[in-house]
Every structure is written in C-alpha cells, then in structure tokens.
Amino acid sequence: MRIIVILGRVLDPRGIVVNPRAGRIFVNREEYILQPADRCALEAALRIKEAAGAEVVALPRTFLPDDDILRQALAIGADRAISIADKPTALPDDGLMARVLLAAIERLGGADLILTGATTLDTGQGQLGPRLAEALGWPQIVGAWTAEATDGTVRAVQQNGRGFVWVEAPLPAVVTFVPGALKLRYPDGRRLINIYKGVGEMAAALERWEAKDLVAPEALAPVLERRGQDFPPERERGVRLTGSVEEIARAAADALRTRLPC
C-alpha cells in the first residue's frame, strides 16, 4: 500500500503581530512550522504504516523555498519525500497545486490513500483534499479524527454534530484531518542530521522534481490572484444590555449563537 501525505508549512502565528490601526503586519520572528492539520495526517499515515505496512511518501501542498518540512517528515518516519519546485505563489493556491500534485501522483505510479489536513492555519483553505479526490474520482472523508486502513477500506472517525461516528470508504480514497486530532511523534535526531547531511540510508529519500516537468506551462498559471489586504475594524467594546432578566438573557444567547464556531 502506498500512502501519500501532503504537507504544508505556515508562519508561526506567535511570531507575528497585526496592528489594524496602522494597517501593518509585523513579523517579529520568521519561523515556519508544519501546518497543524497536516501534522495529524502524517501521524495517521505512520500509524497505518505500522499497523498494516505501507510506503509513506510526503509531497508539499505549496511550492516551497526550502525542504525543511519534508526533511522533518523523513526524520519522523516517512519513507520518501518529493520536493516540487517552482516560483512560490503570493498565497497558497490549492487549485493550481491540485493540478501539479495530480501529475506528481501519476508519475509516482498512483497511490492507495492520500492523507492531508482539512484546513490550513493561516488561510483556512480546505479544498486541496476534495479537489484531488474529485480529479482522481475517489471518495473522500473530510475532517477525520483518526483513521485505519485494512482489507481495501479506510475507516475513520468523523464528527457528526455534537457526536462522533465511524465512517468507511473503499480504497483508494482521500482522508483529511482536523487540527489537533492526533499528536505527531518527535523526529529521530540522528536520522534528521543524516538527512540534512545527505548521508546514511535516507540520503536518497529526498527527491527534487520541477513543476514544469510535470505539467504544461499553462497549467502553472495561478487560479487565485491576490488583490490587496484589509484589516478588521476597531471593536466596539462595552455594549451594555438592558431590559428584564429574560430580555437580557435572550439577547446574550442570540449574540453567543452567532459567534459560536460551527
């Protein structure tokens, strides 16, 4: 079984300060981390590999200026990682990357399972997994908490309202994970050093492909175009509720309902 894990990186939000009044974003510490939801996908892939035996191949969800997250994935337990190079886009562009990743999956000789994050920490995009599922004609399980693959099927726990249900899809399939679903194991330090040095058994595990070798030049045209930036308005604080206890409670309940996460 071959499992493809699609991983992305994100600027650590703890390193940035947004000043809406000045209309500026200050990057105090430029540190990139693995997308939290993609971390869960990688952990799920490694658990399936341990339980059922599989080859885990890591692919990037954007064009990356460096291979750090792919090296991390190899150090954590992935068997292969493929960096796909091209000019980075202004914003993560899942429509464009779906085309490139499809070609990369085809060059790899296909897969049985594609795992990735259900949402990104920065832009909140969750379209890459379903786009790949659609292009490949595969079923999708979106927002999984855990997954196991046996006997030609993948079973996953998915949230259904306030409860959780087991769902099952035939392989091949795409499964996307919610952030925080699984705790990613730590990388093997010696393996990580060897991967950076390019020595040892993992020396050839990181490959570099050019996007222009995978798809036609017109397929590398971005789908999304960045047209500007905006900042939230100043908050109107201190709005006082008046009326009877019941009226206040109703108004407070309505305000809470509209602001609760889905």
């Binding site: 909140g124 969750g126 249900v165 905006d230 206890v245 889905c262």
Partner: protein, 343 residues
Amino acid sequence: MDASFLDLLMAQQEEVTEAEGGGGIWVVADVVDGAIAPVTLEAIGAARNLASALGAYVYAVLLGDGISDLAATLYQAGADGVRVADHPALASFAVEPYLEVLVNLFQAEGPEVILFGATPQGQELAPRVAQRLGGGLIEHATTMTLDEATRTVQAAVPIYGGQYFEIVACPQARPQVLTVEPGAFPAPFMDPYRKGEPKHIEVTPVEPRVRVLGPAGGFTPPSVPLAQAPVIVAAGRQAGDFGLVERLAVALGGRVAGDRGARDAGWIGPEQIVDVRGVTVAPQVYVAVGIRGDTFHNAAIENSRFILAIHPDPTAPIFRVADLCVEADPKEILPALLHALGA
C-alpha cells in the same frame, strides 16, 4: 386603502421571473433541522447585491427529502428562481448523490458565480464542484465586491482566524465558486409577498461511497489545551453557583476556566487560571461570569474574538474589554441564559 387590498396588490406585483439562457449567481442551500440555514439566507442577500452590479439573476438550489415547501423561504429572501431536488436518496447529506445533482444542473445552466455556506456540507461540495467544472474556489468569504470590468468577484478571506484579511479573486477561472462565512453577511429582508414557482430537478439516485457505520462509542477527542480552546466559560469570585457556570460551558461546548478568585474558591485547578501569569487565551467566544477583570486577567483575554461579561458591579474593569456587558448578578442571569440557550 385597507390592508387586505394592499396584500392582494403586492401579491400580484411580486411574482418573480427568471432569465433565459443560463448564467447568474447560484446559491446552494443548507438545510438544518428542516429549515433553511441562516448562512444560506445571508448568501442570497450577498448574491442580490452582486446581482445588481452584474445585471444577473439569483437562483437557489435546494436538495433533500420532503423539502419542497422551503422554496418559499428562498424566494422571500431574494431568489429569482429556485431549483428543487426532492428525493429520498437525498434525505441525508452524502457527497456523491448531492454532487451528481449539482454538477448536472450547473453543466446545463452555466452559472457565473456559485455560493455555498462555509458549513461542513459546503466545505465538502464546493471544492468538488469547482474541480469538476474547472472553476476557482475562494473559501470563507467575509465580504464580496465586483470588479465590473471583468465581472470578477473579489472576496476578503480571514487570515489566522480574522487577524487580517486577504482580498482575492479568481479572474481566469469560471465559474467562480465561493464559500460564505456564516454570520459575515447581514440577513436579507424577508419579503413575504415575494413568491415564485420552483422548478423540480429529476434525480437519478447515486450510491454514496462513504458509509456511516454508526456511533464511535468510546471515542473521545484529545483534549485541546486551554490556550487553544475555541470557547471558554470562565468564573470569578462573583460567579455565585459554579454548577451553573459548568452547565453554561456544556451548553456552549466550551471549556471551564476562571481567574485567581475562582482558584481561591477551589472551583478550578491551577492549570485553568486565565491570567498572563497562567494561561493566555484567544478563543472565539469568552464568557466571563462574575470576573471583575484585573489587569493581568484582561491582558490574557485581549485577543479573544468575542467577550461576554456578566458582573454585578457596573464599574468592574472587565466591562472595558468586553464586547457585550451584562450588569447583573450571575445567579439571576445564568438560569435565564441557560433557558434561552435551550439547555
């Protein structure tokens, strides 16, 4: 002129008409508990604004089982045309049956813009529709404007949960597919006189490939650290009955926390203290019950998206950082609030 005659006159005038020749802005409706979801009505309102600038018509698509009557709500919200796919095979949401109906419809109608709610259903369908039709997809739109020269929709999408917004567009890809963030657009005026005749879509049942096996008994999701919890209900010295605070947390699906006063009262553990010396939080909803709000506490919650404060003292510093202030004794307000939340 008496009201009944006015009603009759309005009813005659407000029969809506549809355009010939496809195009238009299409909204795929979400149905929750047998009613149209608020996000769908908000999307129709946003679509109407775009339609005025585009010179286009607004259509809504309704899928489900026994849902035909809901078409009237979509007309009242501003739809010029409604397509209804009412079939037992669509009783509960599954990707393949819903996708089949939508793709066949959109391939025939050639929409210019398609809007989904940014709900679990919309998040699953929108990328697949965009991929199948060769369209571009913008997720979590919170504002939409039109570049009239190219008939391109420009949308603001929240970055890092809304700390700032990027304005993006799909200038080359058609159709332009967007998911609309719930609560981002105002609910439209519901015109009770506006009505139309929905068109029913022929549904060919498609077997879903993802099967629901049953409840995941025994599965408990890993606990999220308090600092990352999306909803927090925090108690202070003036909270009164801590049991009510816990019930409110359950009703909102949130975590219980508190200030140092709650810790001194023995209600919470040290790891639940919200304070710059304890845990700094940034939830989507923070409810402060009976917390006076000292400098250390208020600094620890300043990045919360929405703060509701309940405290009997109108001069309590918590009211300077709260979005919504309730000057009352929590012991009186909490039972009524729980009742209003249906808990």
